[in-house]
């Protein structure tokens, strides 16, 4: 019988350009099924990295984007009504625990703290998931691993992770790659030449200098890829950057003008 996680297997290799020792570090952590926390600004490649590692390790990847409305039931499962009465339906976390996948909780601090505590028994030596409503205790599959990501610089109402949750994870810190690596990534992902990619990266570096001085975050590698794709498709760099950088990064007209000037300083 096909595993319920078969659809979660990643079939083709996702493009990922390592910028350090992170691949080796992840492999070593996975050898011990150690829970991992990926930290870094938005759009710097955290999610892509997990996809790449899941593909490399040939494990199904169950991804969940956390939000403040998410409850413990959304993770572990709930009873639903059917013709015979109530029936238990496993949540995504439970599926990964039962059948041995990598469960990736994206932006985990967005979830409420009473939701995140359900991962505690999974992330210590016990490796169990008690389903109290069902009266079942699931012992995690030997291949199961939990990975969470969060953006420590996020300037909204985000709360910090509780120390009791935080200390259950080994952490890998991500940042925007160095200039040459980022140029290679943008060129490859957007299908543009390195000269244009380098110009886009320089614009992004200007915006990153404004972090906490008007911008919550500078332009991410992801938006540079978007900008490159639109240029490849026929827009001028100025039009493309207007859509993907200027308008996307800010609503403030003065800040928009400053970003537009960065674009013009690069593309004339």
């Amino acid at each position: 019988m096909q595993s319920p996680l078969h659809d979660h297997l990643i079939q083709s290799e996702p493009f990922y350009q390592p910028s350090g020792q992170e691949v080796e570090c992840y492999e070593r952590a996975y050898r011990h099924r150690m829970p991992l926390m990926l930290k870094g600004p938005t759009g710097c490649g955290k999610t892509r990295f997990v996809e790449y590692m899941a593909w490399k390790l040939q494990r199904p990847l169950v991804t969940l984007a956390c939000n403040e409305d998410m409850t413990a039931s959304d993770l572990v499962g709930r009873y639903l009504l059917d013709a015979q009465g109530t029936a238990w339906h496993d949540g995504p976390l439970t599926l990964a625990v039962r059948y041995g996948g990598i469960c990736y909780l994206d932006e985990v601090v967005e979830a409420r703290q009473d939701t995140t505590v359900v991962i505690h028994p999974l992330t210590d030596a016990r490796r169990i998931l008690p389903l109290d409503k069902k009266g079942e205790v699931i012992h995690a599959h030997p291949d199961f691993q939990l990975v969470v990501s969060y953006n420590p610089g996020y300037q909204s109402s985000a709360k910090d992770m509780k120390a009791s949750t935080r200390q259950r994870f080994a952490a890998l810190e991500f940042d925007y790659p160095d200039t040459d690596t980022e140029v290679a990534i943008v060129a490859q992902e957007a299908g543009i030449d390195a000269v244009l990619a380098r110009q886009l990266v320089t614009v992004a570096q200007c915006t990153r200098a404004l972090k906490q001085r008007g911008l919550d975050e500078g332009a991410s590698t992801r938006v540079l890829v978007y900008a490159g794709i639109l240029v490849r498709d026929g827009l001028t760099p100025a039009q493309s950057c207007e859509m993907t950088l200027v308008r996307a990064l800010t609503d403030d007209p003065d800040m928009a003008k400053a970003i537009r000037d960065f674009v013009q300083a690069q593309f004339g």
Binding site: T71, A72, D74, S157, C206, D254, I259, Q264
Partner: protein, 567 residues
């Protein structure tokens, strides 16, 4: 865009520069890669060109009169030129060894060199510079300024042709040096400039250092490049540019003297005295009962006059606060389409409907509802002497802007469940840390509240830690779980009886940690471009914001408030 120049010429008071400053500040920091403040120079009519310092670009309003393009384009080029110098020039070289004319030529060649270097990183800026070069002088004009203007254009514009031998020699030497030595080799370019200056001497070209102005209006006055001796002899010889700096200092308006202060105010009303401990970071010990915090109400007699000050009311537009929403377990929403749990009553009805062959009601889940408001935020204003300084760009003191921003915030919260108090502090040694209670929790903004806010003076120093502890004690007496302390300051903690610059910073850091441990969130807004070095240390890497310009304060204060209120 042409309009803003013409508006300026028709009406000299039109505030062209003010409107451009926010985006120029961001442009400068983005291009430079680190904070670089852009402000307007107050150097008077003699400051014909922009002045650059290591931290600031002071724009000249007079440069606009020499420009043919709109102000926004001119100052954009000015900012890029300043960034080029700060990134690539050797600053403050000794000027004594050069004659004034050589200095002017070396500076012009240096301008061209750093602009080309900047254009390698930002190719689009070449057009910005080209657009604002001085117009080509008449054919028969062989004055120093005319030759320099032609040389600037010959080097910057490959399409320009000139019939003057010296100009063409300058272009050829510049290109050859770039080709053989590279743009990074500043001494090689300086040697080229010396040759060119020597040629001008041979040509008997007259140079008047007293009246020399750099031809291109977007370029700076070169005072950043040279270190001049301060003795009188050298000053006589030096070109006009370096004099800008002392002139600028003299032109800064005196600290604000409000008409209210001329009237002798009634005495302040003392409410209480509290002793607080202070942390000595070197000895690692608490000094018990070290600081005396005196709670006061400001003298109201002065207020009546200040109250008429229009600045206090309508400079900034009112702020609107987003309603903060939090999930609450106390409110359970029943009969929902989806949710965490099954609503048992609804489930029973579904089963009954099924047996009766009726269409069951699909809404049978429960989920937690939302709770709103009830945050308690204390806004703590720095009332030290430095907040009296007038903002270069706006002619209003930071104190006034602080007060307006706090007032607008309090006004905005009147329509929400949140509650705001506004307090202020300053210090005159540890024996007297004055703590002013300007607006109490949820107090209506009537005339007496306005007067109190308007009349509080700014003086003395900033003993932040003691004030933070006092504010924390007020917040702890407030009910509710969402309590926050929002500090607005303009400089590092300091006091006249403290000589170790780290002492009060470390004490304030301990005070913030104490507040956080008591469940009070803290956030600091610093109106000081150089605040990085201390606010981060005191409030942590995330709980601070830096406003490069005081005019950003109301908006940033509102954002900080929403952030704190969200818990």
């Amino acid at each position: 865009m042409k309009d803003d120049l013409s508006a300026h010429l028709v009406n000299p008071d039109a505030d062209v520069i003010d409107g451009l400053l926010p985006s120029l500040n961001w442009l400068s920091s983005g291009l430079f890669g680190k904070p670089l403040v852009v402000a307007e120079s107050t150097g008077g009519p003699r400051a014909r060109r922009t002045i650059i310092t290591r931290e600031q670009v002071l724009l000249s309003r007079q440069a606009l009169e020499d420009a043919v393009a709109p102000a926004s384009a001119l100052y954009r080029a000015t900012v890029a030129h300043a960034v080029a110098h700060l990134l690539y020039s050797s600053l403050k070289q000794p000027a004594r060894v050069l004659k004034p004319m050589s200095q002017a030529v070396v500076s012009a060649i240096e301008d061209a060199r750093v602009e080309r270097l900047l254009a390698r990183r930002y190719p689009g800026v070449s057009d910005w510079f080209l657009e604002h070069l001085a117009p080509v002088p008449e054919a028969g004009n062989f004055s120093f300024e005319a030759l320099m203007a032609r040389m600037d254009r010959a080097i910057a514009d490959p399409g320009y042709t000139d019939d003057n031998h010296w100009v063409n020699k300058a272009r050829r030497l510049f290109e050859e040096t770039q080709c053989h030595r590279g743009l990074g080799d500043a001494p090689a370019f300086r040697a080229v400039a010396s040759i060119l200056a020597n040629d001008l001497g041979q040509m008997r070209v007259r140079f008047d250092p007293q009246h020399h102005v750099v031809p291109a209006p977007y370029r700076d006055d070169h005072s950043i490049l040279w270190q001049h001796d301060e003795d009188a002899q050298d000053e006589q010889q030096s070109i006009a540019a370096p004099r800008s700096a002392p002139m600028r200092a003299a032109a800064v308006p005196p600290p604000s003297v409000d008409s209210a202060q001329e009237v002798r105010p009634q005495a302040e009303v003392e409410l209480s005295r509290t002793l607080h401990a202070e942390w000595h970071h070197r000895l690692g010990l608490w000094r018990r009962d070290w600081c005396t915090v005196v709670e006061k109400l400001p003298a109201l007699a002065a207020a009546k006059l200040k109250h008429t000050n229009p600045l206090l009311h309508h400079t900034f537009s009112p702020v609107s606060l987003h309603r903060v929403r939090r999930l609450s377990r106390r409110q359970r929403l029943r009969r929902q389409w989806e949710g965490e749990d099954i609503d048992l009553n609804a489930a029973i009805e579904v089963l009954m409907d099924r047996r009766l062959d009726l269409q069951p009601e699909p809404r049978l889940f429960m989920r937690p509802g939302r709770e709103t408001g009830a945050s308690r935020i204390l806004v703590l204003l720095d009332l030290s002497e430095s907040t009296n300084d007038l903002s270069v760009a706006h002619g209003v003191s930071l104190l006034d802007i602080e007060k307006q921003a706090a007032f607008l915030l309090a006004e905005a919260t009147l329509h929400t469940h949140d509650c705001v108090a506004v307090h202020g502090f300053n210090s005159n040694t540890r024996a007297e840390v004055s703590y002013y209670r300007l607006l109490e929790w949820g107090e209506p903004l009537d005339d007496s509240a306005r007067d109190r806010l308007a009349s509080v003076p700014a003086r003395h120093s900033t003993r932040l830690g003691a004030a933070l502890r006092q504010a924390t004690s007020h917040l702890m007496a407030q009910p509710g779980r969402h309590r926050g302390l929002l500090v607005v300051t303009d400089g590092a903690p300091s006091d006249v009886d403290v000589f170790d610059p780290d002492y009060l910073v470390e004490d304030a850091r301990m005070a913030v940690q104490q507040a956080n441990r008591a469940g009070i969130r803290t956030f600091c807004l610093a109106v000081d471009p150089a605040a990085d070095r201390y606010v981060r240390r005191i409030f942590g890497w995330r709980d601070h914001g830096i406003a490069a310009d005081a005019s950003h304060l109301p908006v940033q204060l509102q954002r900080a408030f929403v952030r704190l209120a969200a818990g």
